[in-house]
Subunit: 798 residues, 2 copies
């Protein structure tokens, strides 16, 4: 099975073996205790119904396997003074990680009330999955965790993200065979093609096959050994096997097998690293991994009420139920717990025996106390260039044309350069860095690929800082792991396809929200998204590439965590980018265009505008500080251009009309100030948007989001929003806005329809609008591109 | 490379080889023509700038590979009279599929204006990626397509979904090496563990390695051959290789290699099927697959302006640009197109030469005309049980307790039974069928697993109709493929984790919307979701398992396509389920509880209530048909219970208060009738919700969705919505609603605060509410479960 390992090797001395098994039993005991016990934690008296919790919540099935791994990791950490963290894919195995951090002492350091004595053990048990206590998962409350695992699929991406640029770190990642069925996990094995042993740390994946999910068998547990072996060799790993059946279920023999495999894996990791660091990386190494096959609910009750439990999906959650009312079941529970012999593990005071506790690593080598798993304490500020240095020269509004994200890319390039030495900043993208106009970064770094690089390859190296794999899941997971271990990053993505990671965003937002309230967790860098190739410039790809709904998802999360910016041009984009890279513990979404577009604000004005979040563009307005007849509001680059073009037409047609142009950069200002810290006070909102004049709001995304944010505002009844209404196909850029009624001509029509003072005077204008739209359609259908007067339209100051 | 195939085999006669290569050249010619030409389709005159389109949009890179495959599939279809469809993972290769369906004649049957002559060819070229024309992708407009491929990752899941229960169908699925990096695609290879050759059809995956994505190399193209081979053997396939380099780039030799491999693959598929159908399925077969390695942009320009194009990522989209202005480039384009020798392929009239067209299959054997790819024409109604037969007896409201989804599961069970023979209904779930209380289905079928089944396995067989893999992507992809080929299904999922497939939902909704307007596409069955284990009953898992935001995503799509139902009890759930299974071409989302809960409506009342979508619950109201003082509205099972409990308290405390209870089942009725076909006319809405009385609305999801739907309604200013505000942890069910201010006590407080007529009389009640909440918190923190009076609360008719 493990051809390169002596099958008779016994790396563990009899004494150490006994102690490690005792440690394993202690962690199993504490795992069961957390799920079941309300009192009598050391079973000093016979177990009675009142000692059991009223509601039994938790997952036993995966816990003993996780416990077994932890004991063995402790040994190699001690033997080699390893810097190691433990990423728990089967995150519902909360009892296990809590048990181990308690045994090693890190838990009580973070939570002094859960002390290492009988009283503390009672608290440990009671609090688990109990109101006011701790979640049943390996949540952010659990010391050592960077991966909650509430939602499955991301543990291995997180682990690799943690290992990048951490050359001394080994990230052990247990992958459950349930999680292994998810898409994100299935592709994340390929992360080894992006990890460079010369500069990065190592990931040691442990695939845990326990055969069962909630109610059925798992795929990887049911394929033949030779397929399993080829699969992981095909993924580029060298699998080592730890197999309960191969030792006929003899736990002591399994300890020896695991110890031998673990020694081998660590030795190979060290050899790969030593070679790469001495000689440079020649070719992608084949990293070791471990495939561990143990029964689900191992060491738990074998049979209950005639049904198989140990080794069955029935052990997934709480094997013995109704222990308060069924005395037979209570007895099964007591026998089960006593089978771990707690009296041999804990002293009179309920303290773990010193000779056993001695097996745990010390200080920050304990996996519950490793600072990498509380990245905020390692976080260093980025060295930042002065974003003003990249300013586009805008002598007057509309005078210049630039590609906003291309300008931003130069700033990102210099962020990379300035932090090259610190190696704490990376860019992640599903093969879109160049397409999204961040090509400048390739002046100073490359795409990372730790695989075969060919002579005519371009901008690719083993040591690039641009992480491109065509998997939004992988990009997001790597970035999350990178951030949670105290580094910085940026994710650039096509706007529509960021929906692919909606659910990952959701989990990360929850993690940030919860950790804000955990005193020992330090703030981490913000997760920054650039969303471009956006809905209005999918004229070449059409409907399938159009979706501005990620913002709707983001707005569902807690106000303290999320920010959404839609800078209308390059200088505002630079200002926003600077702000996002300096912020902490947030999720910042920036939506910006990559096509050549009009530039409106010089850098000073851009900074002022971004600081306010929204404001009047005096230069486009003619209300001269007085009360306007109408407010033309806009948010997003294309809606801003169409609004300005509409204003031009209106001012030509109705010179006496007082028009105010309001631009919104920070979507959050639209909310009431009691809903969001960026929310604009009602007074200010009313003075921007008036209390009774029509507001024609041209918005980048789905229009109802604006209504949702503003329905409590005084003038909401006069608010008319245009935005994306799910119309699109392969067409021209201008036709895309026409299809959604967001174009200048429709905006003019919307406006004059809402101005009673124009009654009787709009016929000419309406004919003009109809003519322009017909002319547009005819031209586009004949020539396949927009009319020159549309393409080359410019704002000109009057 | 292909050990089992004679390397010197030449399955193609010289004549056939020449013809097939001519066919290949014709399809390449038409592919290039679509991307570039506006006129002069047959190059009868030298190419001039005015013959070229003003905007060049499209993807050349993948097209020649797709063309090569199509030619060879045509041959085996003819040889074996195969029933085959072609799923195009590299969906941006639209030119290829359009070219082939045009050559085989199916395109012109669907689009008679694009005729098989010079004029038609000009139209074919002009319309491509042109305003008013056709999208550049293999979109729903493309005959033979069931997978747009705008978003990557799902082709193989779609292919397997199409093959289930279609024993005579072979689904060829080309997987691009870019798409192969996505998570969903990486796990979808494991679909072979769920396909039964006895009853299902076959999938022939063709992994197309062309080495490049948009701007960089692909992972699978850059791993050594032995790893690639092991990877796919590990996935359970037998790979055959077609490799450009292995024949030194000799196209004719590659045709022979492909033909030999294709013959072998078809023979193996037939042998596997014959064996399973004669002898029953003994063990999972190892299906053949093809790995095809050809240069990106094969047969295109090799070098342009000194840079490599053929065989490089630079061929991804439009290799030669500026052909209107750069005459050297125009010359390259002309030489490229003439290299296919159009004069040898098309006759004087521009018609494909008959001896070449003869290579195409005939009638519905043409892949563009195969009815499986236009599933609506094969769709048969489900045989449906009478949903009234499963009714829960509800003698009076609140008299009964039942688990709604368990009742629904019995109906689903009988749908399975009634359609057992037709084999056109399946259930899909990520391992949650039992957990979601649909256990009754296991009385008549099993979980499907075409892998090792062990003696003590339970409810598992090779032929089960319950498709469980722990991948929401896989479930969704299979179901979409199953539906689009004319069958029916249901997806049951935890509410929070349906967000994992947000983006797939989005693409499917767009597909349905577009196909509504394509006359030759027939309506397919609706895609039905049961979302349960919902936000209010995640007291055991906590925050990470809470997210009711999928409804927000769904509401962004076109009104014709989406429906969202929140039935408050079992009988309403049955009625809604019946409606959804009979509906067509929609996406129906049903959110329902699985826990024991109060039942309110008998079947007659449930049917009436669901038909209306929302209505007054007279039995809970005391406004006796008059104008109420307050409207207590509710939507969702838990909000409904809390509202009723609040009404009880209010009526005790303020007996003279006139309260109207309105329950909403169909979320769409809240919208204005001009926004949604289910939208309630303003008149009816006003008569339900009044025009001026306070409305306290208890809603299942994020509260602002209700505001977004109702902001235009007369009484919106008096609407106060409670819902999920992102608070949760491991706690008790009632505490979960308390954390979000949705509980009965908060609802009473909200109500009395909005009733000026109670001014000066609410102090006692407010004290009562505070006391109850304190009592609740104290009890929960002591006992870990809800107080008996909460747990056992019942509505009682007065």
């Amino acid at each position: 099975m493990n051809a390169e390992i002596d099958q008779n090797a016994k790396p563990l001395s009899p004494d150490l073996l006994q102690k490690m098994d005792a440690y394993f039993r202690a962690s199993n005991y504490l795992s069961v205790g957390q799920i079941y016990l309300y009192d009598n934690p050391l079973l000093r008296v016979p177990l009675a119904p009142e000692h059991v919790k009223p509601r039994l919540l938790g997952h036993w099935g995966t816990s003993p396997g996780l416990n077994f791994v932890y004991v063995h990791l402790n040994r190699v950490i001690n033997n080699h003074d390893l810097d190691m963290i433990y990423v728990t894919g089967p995150g519902h195995g909360g009892p296990s990680l809590v048990a181990h951090t308690y045994l090693e002492g890190s838990y009580s350091e973070f939570y002094p009330n859960v002390s290492q004595d009988e009283q503390g053990m009672k608290k440990l048990f009671t609090q688990f999955s109990f109101p006011g206590g701790v979640p049943s998962h390996v949540a952010s409350e659990t010391p050592g965790s960077i991966n909650e695992g509430g939602e499955l699929g991301y543990c291995l991406s997180h682990a690799f993200g943690a290992a990048f640029d951490n050359p001394d770190l080994i990230v052990t990642c247990v992958v459950g065979d349930g999680e292994a069925e998810t898409g994100p996990l299935a592709t994340s094995w390929h992360s080894n093609k992006f990890l460079n042993p010369e500069y990065d740390g190592a990931v040691l994946p442990i695939l845990h096959l326990n055969d069962g999910k909630i109610a059925g068998p798992t795929v990887l547990a049911r394929i033949p050994h030779n397929e399993l072996d080829m699969l992981f060799r095909g993924y580029g790993y060298k699998p080592y096997y730890v197999d309960y059946d191969s030792v006929n279920g003899d736990t002591m023999a399994l300890h020896q097998q695991m110890a031998a495999v673990m020694d081998r894996a660590i030795a190979e990791i060290k050899a790969i690293q030593a070679d790469a660091r001495a000689n440079g990386l020649k070719e992608r190494p084949v990293w070791p991994m471990i495939v561990m096959r143990t029964p689900k609910g191992w060491t738990g009750p074998k049979v209950i009420d005639g049904l198989k439990y140990e080794g069955s999906f029935r052990s997934h959650q709480v094997p013995v139920s109704e222990t308060k009312t069924n005395l037979d079941h209570l007895k099964i529970l007591e026998e089960w717990m006593r089978s771990y012999k707690p009296e041999e593990l804990f002293d009179e005071d309920g303290r773990f025996l010193p000779e056993l506790e001695a097996l745990a690593p010390k200080g920050i080598r304990r996996m519950g106390a490793n600072p990498h798993a509380n990245g905020g304490i390692l976080l260093r500020d980025l060295r930042m260039p002065d974003f003003r240095d990249y300013a586009v020269d805008v002598p007057h509004p509309g005078a210049t044309v630039a590609e906003a994200t291309r300008i931003q890319g130069r700033m990102i390039r210099d962020v990379i350069t300035l932090n090259e030495e610190a190696r704490n900043f990376r860019v992640f993208s599903p093969d879109e860095t160049e397409s999204n106009r961040w090509g400048a970064v390739f002046e100073v770094t490359d795409r990372c690929l730790v695989a075969d690089i060919k002579p005519d390859d371009y901008q690719i190296s083993h040591n690039g800082r641009i992480m491109e794999m065509l998997s939004e899941h992988q990009c997001e997971g790597w970035l999350e792991g990178y951030i949670l271990t105290g580094r910085h990053g940026f994710f650039s993505c096509y706007e529509a396809f960021i929906h692919i990671i909606d659910s990952m965003f959701n989990q990360h937002a929850k993690w940030l929200e919860v950790t804000r309230h955990i005193p020992w967790r330090r703030p981490v860098a913000s997760l920054n998204y650039l969303l471009t190739s956006h809905v209005w410039r999918q004229d070449h790809n059409g409907l399938s590439h159009q979706n501005p709904g990620f913002m709707d998802i983001v707005m569902n999360k807690k106000a303290d965590i999320t920010r959404v910016y839609l800078p209308p041009d390059a200088n505002t984009l630079l200002s926003v980018t600077d702000h996002c890279l300096r912020s902490r513990h947030r999720i910042n979404v920036i939506v910006a265009g990559k096509q050549p577009a009009l530039q409106y604000l010089n850098m000073d004005d851009a900074i002022k505008h971004c600081t306010a979040g929204a404001g009047i563009w005096e230069w486009a307005s003619n209300d001269k500080g007085g009360e306007p007849d109408v407010v033309m509001a806009c948010c997003g680059d294309i809606p801003t251009m169409e609004t300005l073009a509409a204003v031009k037409i209106l001012r030509e047609q109705f010179p006496e009309l007082k028009i105010r142009v309001v631009n919104v950069v920070n979507l959050m200002v639209l909310q009431p100030s009691n809903e969001h810290p960026n929310g604009m006070p009602d007074k200010d909102f009313d003075s921007l948007f008036t209390t009774d004049k029509p507001i024609i709001f041209a918005y980048h995304g789905y229009p109802w989001l604006i209504h949702r944010l503003t329905y409590r505002r005084t003038n909401h009844k006069n608010l008319h929003v245009r935005g994306y209404k799910e119309e699109g196909t392969t067409t021209t850029p201008f036709d895309m806005v026409v299809l959604n009624d967001l174009d200048r001509f429709h905006l003019v029509g919307d406006t004059i329809d809402r101005l009673p003072q124009l009654a009787g005077r709009t016929a000419y204008t309406k004919q003009y609008l109809r003519d322009r739209l017909l002319e547009h359609k005819a031209y586009v259908h004949q020539y396949g591109e927009d009319m020159p007067e549309i393409r080359d339209w410019k704002w000109t100051d009057d």
